[in-house]
Each structure stands twice: as structure tokens, then as C-alpha cells.
């Protein structure tokens, strides 16, 4: 099973490495969004500092949605789905493999956004352990929910608008928890940063369980 998971993840990442969408287009776009936030808040340093955590996760949400969309467009474009269904790879492995690939891609996106926040919004980190734990928890939740809801809208004609509509309500708690945890880690809010990071892990765990059970139903044909 582990071998299958890595196989699926490696396939996705190889496709991505050749197309260079994540690094070439999504990451620069997310950085642009960070700049636009600064314009919207009139480069008010204290506002930017306080909101840095939330703005970071908003940018991740935006970039992440594009990556999720892409992860399933790759499958449905040339009927790859049929090939996957025919292969002996189990649905749980397929689910975890795609989630792993998305996790790697979103992590790359965050590795670009993170320094961007630190430099552009002029914030300092007071708790690196919490920051990294929260980032990992949030990214796991993003990728697991992403695969589940990406499969839900895969191959439909209006997926470009449907995916965000379905995904944002589900990810809203992750966004909230991520923002609060980051605010604690960046030292702008005293509070239960670890609890919020824990909430993101719980959301990720719940959706992993749901995904392992339900992924097969989502991908079945006709």
C-alpha cells in the first residue's frame, strides 16, 4: 500500500515538474496577492502585522485551490481516470497518493509565501516550533480536503466555480485556526496557538477518514 501511495504521488509530481505550473505560475500569483493585500490595507504596518497570519492563509487558499483544480484536470483531461480505475491501485492508496503530491506542492508554495510575509509585512517569528507545526497541520488539512472535494468536482464542466464554492466552507475552519495559530506564533496575539494547530489536525484526520471511505464512490463511473 505504501508503495502504491508513493507511486501515485511520484506520478503527480513528475507531471507537475514537467509542466512547472506550481512554481512558474501559482507561486508568483500568490506573491502578487500578498502585494495586493498590502495595497488594500494602504500599507498600514500595524494592520499588516496583525493580519499577516490571516493574509498568509488566504493566499495559500487561493493558490491551493488552483493546484487542487490542476491535480484533477491532469487526471480527467485524457481519460487518465479510466486508466487509474483499471489499474490495480486501491482507492485508499490513490486518495493518499494524490494527497501526498498535493501536500508537497502546497508546501513549496508556502515556502515561497512564508518569507514573502516575513519580508513584505515586516513581522518577526517568536515561536518557530508552533509556526512550523501549524503550517504542517494546515497543509495536511488543505491537501486532504482538497483531494476529497477536487474529486467531487472533477470532470464537471463548471468545476472552476464549483470547486471554490464547495471547498471554501469546508476550509473556513482551517483558515480560522491557521490564522489564530500564526498570530500566536508571530507574537501578535497571546493565546492558544497549539489548540488551533490541534484543530487543524483534527479536521485533517476527519477528512482523511472520510476520504478513505468515500473516495471510491466519487471516482466510480456511470
Amino acid at each position: 500500500m505504501l508503495a502504491e501511495i508513493f507511486l501515485v504521488a511520484r506520478k503527480d509530481l513528475r507531471v507537475e515538474r514537467r509542466a512547472k505550473i506550481a512554481l512558474g505560475q501559482v507561486a508568483p500569483l500568490a506573491l502578487l496577492i500578498l502585494m495586493v493585500f498590502a495595497f488594500a490595507l494602504d500599507a498600514n504596518t500595524s494592520l499588516l502585522e496583525r493580519g499577516a497570519g490571516g493574509l498568509y492563509w488566504l493566499a495559500v487558499l487561493y493558490g491551493g485551490t488552483l493546484l487542487i483544480q490542476r491535480s484533477f484536470d491532469v487526471e480527467t483531461d485524457d481519460g487518465n481516470m479510466d486508466a487509474l480505475r483499471m489499474s490495480a491501485i486501491g482507492m485508499p492508496s490513490l486518495f493518499l497518493g494524490k494527497a501526498l503530491a498535493l501536500f508537497v506542492q502546497i508546501t513549496v508554495l508556502e515556502l515561497i509565501l512564508g518569507p514573502g510575509i516575513l519580508l513584505l509585512y515586516n513581522v518577526g517569528v517568536v515561536d518557530w516550533v508552533l509556526l512550523i507545526a501549524a503550517a504542517i497541520a494546515g497543509t495536511v488539512a488543505f491537501s486532504v480536503c482538497g483531494v476529497l472535494w477536487g474529486a467531487m468536482s472533477a470532470g464537471l464542466r463548471v468545476r472552476a466555480t464549483l470547486l471554490p464554492l464547495l471547498l471554501v466552507p469546508v476550509l473556513a475552519p482551517v483558515l480560522l485556526a491557521g490564522s489564530r495559530a500564526f498570530e500566536t506564533a508571530l507574537g501578535v496575539r497571546a493565546g492558544a496557538g497549539w489548540t488551533w494547530a490541534g484543530l487543524m489536525f483534527v479536521i485533517a484526520a476527519v477528512h482523511t477518514a472520510l476520504g478513505l471511505g468515500a473516495f471510491g464512490f466519487l471516482l466510480e463511473e456511470g
Partner: protein, 253 residues
């Protein structure tokens, strides 16, 4: 009476007509009880009359979403065994969810108005209000998924999965007032706790819940039949299209 045929043509049968008339009468009586006969509250005055819509509406919404989830499970079980089976449960899930969304909207609107007079604000981001609006948006997404142009079997299966996942939020909404500190008051009635509401108001609330349930049942049955009709129309349209294609092909030969 052309009852047998009218079931398919119009969406009414004898039973739903009786149900419809009683729903109309029941809501009329509910208005009289809620607006005239029940007394004003000692603290809130007349504003307490929002209770009789606000609270039963969200009960009905919970009920509708629960029905959606149960039907979705049954649909998934049935259609797994035989792909053409279980359409019945799929339609039931769709109609119950739509009625649930309508009543969630009513809860939100009446809640905002009620909040303005009692709390002094239309909206606050406390746990109850936030989770309720997320519930509303989630099920709007579910309805959007159901309306997409796609192969019916695929669409229904995905919608069923989404219904199951979305239901997680219902208990969170209900217990949010106990789990977190909220501006919103605690649940009006709950099992194992003496209702802190006087007799006339208590009975009016229960009666309103009954009236709204009758109305919702009627709506769900009718909506179910409309979904069935929509499916029939789509099938007929498809057949007509194929027929015209075939005719053209034969004509050109």
C-alpha cells in the same frame, strides 16, 4: 376525479391536497397563536414572537438535512448493488435538502431581525451564528452540485457523498451554544432540562413546530415529484434528440 393521472401531471394527489390544505390551515392557526393569543415576554416584549418562526425553522432544517443524509446512505447502498436502483432515495435527498436550505435561510433572516431588537446588532461572529451560516453555504453548495450538467448517476453519487460529509456540521451548530461562549442564548428546549419558558409560549412553540412540519412535509413531497418530472423531461428530450438524429441520418442516406 382524475386522481391517478393527475399524480404525474400536476404534482398533487388526493393525499397531498389534504396535506396542503391542512398545512395552510395549520400555518394560519400558527399565525393567530403566535401573533395574537400568546403573551408578550416580560423582558423582550413583542419581539419574543420571532421565537415561533426562528426556532421551529431550524428544527425543520436539521430534520431535512438528516433526511438527506439517511436517503443518501440508502442511495449509495442501493446503487452500489444495482447502478439503476435507488433513484428514489436520490430524489428524496435532493428535495429534503432544498427545503432544509429554505428553512435555514428563514432562520438566518428572522434571527438577524430578532438580534437587532434584542441584542442591538444584526450580526455577530459568535460560534452559533458562524456555524449556522457555514451550514447554509455548505448545503447551497450541495444543491449547486445537484444541478450541474453531468451524467445523472455520477452526479447523484457525488452529491450523496457530499451530503454525508456536510451533515457533520449539524450537531456542531446545535451544540455550539453549549460548547462555546456565545452571544446567542442556549437551546430553547433540550432533553433532560426543564424548559425555561412559560406554558402558553411553550405550547405555541410546540404547535408552531408541528405546523411547520406539516408544511415542510407537503413541500418535500411536491418537490420530490417535480424532480421526478424533471428527470422524465430530460429523458424524453434525450430520446427526441436521438430520434431526430436517426431520422436525419436515414434521410441523408
Amino acid at each position: 376525479m382524475p386522481v391517478a393521472n393527475s399524480g404525474a401531471k400536476m404534482t398533487a394527489t388526493l393525499i397531498t391536497r389534504v396535506l396542503g390544505v391542512s398545512a395552510l390551515a395549520a400555518t394560519g392557526l400558527m399565525a393567530v397563536l403566535g401573533l395574537v393569543i400568546s403573551p408578550p415576554d416580560v423582558v423582550q416584549g413583542e419581539a419574543v414572537r420571532m421565537l415561533y418562526i426562528h426556532v421551529p425553522s431550524i428544527w425543520i432544517a436539521y430534520g431535512g438535512f438528516a433526511l438527506t443524509s439517511i436517503s443518501s446512505i440508502l442511495f449509495l447502498r442501493r446503487s452500489r448493488r444495482r447502478p439503476d436502483q435507488g433513484r428514489h432515495y436520490d430524489r428524496l435527498a435532493g428535495s429534503a435538502a432544498e427545503v432544509g436550505v429554505v428553512f435555514t435561510a428563514i432562520t438566518l433572516i428572522t434571527g438577524m431581525l430578532w438580534g437587532k431588537v434584542t441584542w442591538g446588532t444584526y450580526w455577530q461572529w459568535d460560534a452559533r451564528l458562524t456555524t449556522t451560516v457555514l451550514l447554509f453555504v455548505t448545503y447551497l453548495g450541495y444543491l449547486a452540485l445537484r444541478r450541474l450538467p453531468a451524467e445523472p448517476a455520477v452526479r447523484s453519487r457525488r452529491a450523496a457523498v457530499m451530503a454525508l460529509i456536510s451533515f457533520i456540521n449539524v450537531p456542531i451548530v446545535h451544540y455550539s451554544v453549549d460548547w462555546w461562549r456565545t452571544l446567542h442564548q442556549k437551546a430553547s428546549l433540550s432533553v433532560g432540562r426543564r424548559p425555561e419558558i412559560t406554558g402558553e409560549m411553550y405550547w405555541t412553540l410546540l404547535y408552531s413546530a408541528l405546523a411547520v412540519t406539516i408544511l415542510a412535509t407537503w413541500l418535500i413531497i411536491h418537490r420530490y415529484r417535480v424532480i421526478r418530472l424533471e428527470e422524465l423531461r430530460d429523458e424524453e428530450g434525450l430520446e427526441a434528440l436521438i430520434a431526430s438524429r436517426l431520422n436525419k441520418d436515414f434521410g441523408s442516406h
